[in-house]
C-alpha cells in the first residue's frame, strides 16, 4: 500500500496518479464480482449484503480518475448486474453509473491510495447506492421499500472493510508505470 505523502486532498488533478489496468482485468474483475454477487449468497446468506460489483466500480472509477471511464464502468457493471437479476434493466445501471461518475469525480481531488479515504469512500458510496436505489424503486417501480438506514449503515461498514481489502488486492492488478 503506497500513500502519497500522507495528504488526503490533492492540490491539482495532475498531482494524483492515474492507474491503468489491462483490458482483461477490466472485464474479468467486474464479471467475477457479478458472479460472486449472484452465486455466493446462495451458499452464504449473509454475503448477500456484500456489494462486490459496487466496490469494483468504485475502485476502477477512483483509480482511473476519469469521469468518463467511471460512468462507463458503472454503466456496464450495473446493466450486467441487472441482466442477471430480476430487476428491470437500468436500475443498477443508473445507480452504478452515478456512483462511477461521482467516484471518479471525487478521485480527482482525493488521494485514493490512502486507506482511510478508500474506507470512507467505500462506505459513503455504499450508503449512496442504497439510498439511490431506494429512491429509484419508489420513483420508477412504484414500490414502497422500507427505508432501512440502520442496515445500510451497518452493512456499509462491512462493505467498506471488504472494499479496502478488495482495493488492496486490485492494486496488484494495476499496470506498473
Amino acid at each position: 500500500m503506497s500513500y502519497s505523502g500522507g495528504r488526503i486532498l490533492l492540490s491539482s488533478r495532475g498531482e494524483g496518479q492515474v492507474s491503468r489496468f489491462r483490458a482483461w482485468v477490466l472485464l474479468v474483475v467486474p464479471l467475477a464480482a457479478i458472479l460472486f454477487q449472484v452465486s455466493v449468497p446462495l451458499f452464504f446468506q449473509f454475503l448477500k449484503y456484500l456489494e462486490l460489483p459496487l466496490l469494483v466500480v468504485v475502485y476502477f472509477a477512483l483509480m482511473r480518475r476519469n469521469q468518463m471511464a467511471g460512468l462507463a464502468v458503472g454503466t456496464a457493471v450495473g446493466l450486467a448486474q441487472d441482466s442477471l437479476s430480476t430487476n428491470p434493466l437500468g436500475m443498477y445501471g443508473i445507480v452504478y453509473t452515478l456512483v462511477g461518475y461521482f467516484a471518479a469525480s471525487v478521485g480527482v481531488r482525493l488521494d485514493v491510495d490512502h486507506g482511510v479515504i478508500r474506507l470512507l469512500l467505500a462506505y459513503f458510496f455504499y450508503i449512496f447506492h442504497e439510498l439511490l436505489y431506494w429512491v429509484m424503486e419508489r420513483a420508477l417501480q412504484g414500490r414502497q421499500p422500507a427505508f432501512k438506514i440502520e442496515e445500510w449503515l451497518i452493512f456499509g461498514v462491512l462493505n467498506a472493510i471488504v472494499g479496502v481489502a478488495l482495493f488492496h488486492f486490485l492494486d496488484k492488478l494495476r499496470e506498473s508505470s
Binding site: Q67, M68, L71, P88, L89, T97, L98
Partner: protein, 396 residues
C-alpha cells in the same frame, strides 16, 4: 457548441447514459394501469407540452372566435346591412311597380268604363317656373294629343293640355291660376272652376239664390268644350254668399294626394250623364231590417197612421158615425162636435145622441148608440193604445 461539449463532455455523457438507461427502464416497467413506463413517461413528458399547445390552441381559437370571427361578424354585419339596404331599395322599387300596376289597372278600368276615348300617359316632369302649375306627360302629337285636350284620372280632372309636342305634352293643372272649366252639381247648379295657385279652387258665377252646400260634389258640365260632361271634379269645401255670386271653394280630387303619376288624356270626349248620387267616399254599413213582427202589424192596422191629425180625423169620423151623420151628405146638418167623444170602452149611451137610434129598433146594448161606429172607434183606440204600449183593460 463543440467547445461546450468538450468542456462538459463528461456530464453530457453521464446524462445521456442515464437517459438511455431510463428509457430502457421505461420500456420494461409498467405502472398500475399495466402501461409501460416509457409510455407513461412520454405522456407525462409530453403532457405539459400538449397542455401548452392546447392552451395555445384554445387561446388561438378564442382569439379567432373573439376577434377574427367577430371581425368576420362585423364584415358579415356590414354585408347584411348592404343586403338590407339593397332589399329596401328593391322593395321600394317593387312597391312602386305594384302601385304603378294598380294605377294602370285603375286607369284601364276607368278608361273602359268611360265612354270617352282616352289615352294613358305618365307624368314625366314638371314645367319650369314657380308660378306655373303644369306638368309634362309622355304623350305628344305623335300619339294623337292636341292642345286643349282634357286630362283626367279616375279621381277627377287633372288639367288640360297646354302645349302638345311630338312626344311630350305640357298639362296645365287644375289649380293653376289660368285654368278654368265648367262644373255643375248634381242638382244642376252650374259654375266655372278656376285655379288660384292654392290647393283649393274657386267656383265662379254661381248665383246666390242657388243652393250649394259644402260637401256637394262637382262634375264637369261640358260647357267649356274641353271636358265632357260627367267627369268628377271634387267636393265643395266652403260656400259663402257674395255679390253678385256665391264664393265657393272646391277641392280638386285628382290633386288631393299630389300630382298623379299616371293620367288619361281625353282624345275624344263623350258627354255622359251625371251620377244620381255622388260616389261615397267610404262604404257605409247599413244594418239589415229587423224581422217582421205580427204584434207590430196588429198594433198598427192597415191604413192607420200615427200622426195627431190622423187621430183627430179618426175621432171626428167616429163621432159623426155615432150621430148618424154622413160626411159629405146633402142634409146640411152638422154633427155635434161638442158631444162627448164615444169612449172606446163599453160605456152607457150618451143623451147627446137620442136620435141616433132609429125608432122601433130594439134596444141597443149599453153604450151602443152607434154600434158599428162605436165598435170601430173602440177598435181604433184599442189598437192605438196597444201600439203605444198602454193598458189593455178594454180588452177584458
Amino acid at each position: 457548441m463543440e467547445s461546450f461539449l468538450n468542456r462538459y463532455r463528461s456530464i453530457t455523457v453521464l446524462l445521456l447514459v442515464i437517459f438511455g438507461q431510463l428509457v430502457l427502464l421505461g420500456v420494461q416497467l409498467k405502472n398500475d394501469q399495466n402501461v409501460t413506463m416509457i409510455r407513461s413517461w412520454t405522456a407525462t413528458a409530453v403532457s405539459p407540452v400538449l397542455n401548452i399547445l392546447g392552451w395555445g390552441r384554445h387561446s388561438s381559437v378564442g382569439f379567432f372566435r373573439n376577434y377574427v370571427l367577430l371581425h368576420d361578424a362585423s364584415e358579415e354585419n356590414r354585408r347584411l346591412r348592404e343586403d338590407l339596404d339593397r332589399l329596401k331599395v328593391e322593395n321600394v322599387f317593387l312597391k312602386n311597380e305594384l302601385n304603378t300596376a294598380e294605377r294602370a289597372k285603375a286607369l284601364q278600368l276607368f278608361a273602359a268604363r268611360t265612354p270617352s276615348k282616352t289615352l294613358a300617359a305618365s307624368v314625366v316632369g314638371s314645367a319650369a317656373g314657380s308660378d306655373t302649375n303644369a306638368v309634362m306627360v309622355d304623350r305628344g302629337t305623335l300619339s294623337g294629343v292636341e292642345r286643349g285636350m282634357g286630362v283626367v284620372t279616375p279621381d277627377g280632372i287633372v288639367g288640360k293640355v297646354l302645349y302638345a309636342y311630338a312626344m311630350i305634352s305640357v298639362v296645365r293643372l287644375v289649380n293653376d291660376q289660368d285654368f278654368a272649366a265648367g262644373v255643375t252639381t248634381l242638382n244642376g247648379v252650374h259654375g266655372v272652376l278656376k285655379g288660384q295657385q292654392r290647393p283649393l279652387c274657386k267656383v265662379d258665377y254661381v248665383p246666390i239664390e242657388e243652393k250649394v252646400a259644402p260637401g256637394d260634389m262637382l262634375y264637369t258640365s261640358g260647357d267649356d268644350h274641353i271636358f265632357p260632361r260627367g267627369f268628377p271634379v271634387g267636393p265643395v269645401k266652403s260656400v259663402r254668399n257674395g255679390q253678385p255670386f256665391k264664393e265657393i271653394l272646391a277641392e280638386a280630387s285628382a290633386l288631393q294626394h299630389g300630382i298623379p303619376e299616371d293620367v288619361l288624356i281625353i282624345v275624344e270626349g263623350v258627354h255622359q250623364e251625371l251620377p244620381e248620387a255622388p260616389p261615397p267616399n267610404q262604404p257605409v254599413y247599413i244594418n239589415p231590417a229587423p224581422p217582421s213582427s205580427g204584434q207590430a202589424e196588429d198594433a198598427m192596422p192597415e191604413g192607420q197612421v200615427g200622426t195627431e191629425a190622423d187621430r183627430m180625423r179618426s175621432q171626428i169620423k167616429a163621432l159623426g158615425e155615432a150621430q148618424g151623420h154622413v160626411f159629405g151628405g146633402s142634409d146640411g146638418k152638422l154633427p155635434d162636435f161638442n158631444a162627448r167623444n164615444p169612449s172606446p170602452s163599453p160605456a152607457p149611451a150618451t143623451p147627446a145622441a137620442p136620435g141616433a137610434s132609429p125608432p122601433g129598433q130594439p134596444e141597443k146594448p149599453p153604450g151602443g148608440a152607434a154600434p158599428a161606429a162605436a165598435s170601430k172607434a173602440s177598435d181604433t183606440a184599442r189598437h192605438t193604445n196597444q201600439a203605444a204600449g198602454g193598458g189593455g183593460k178594454q180588452d177584458r
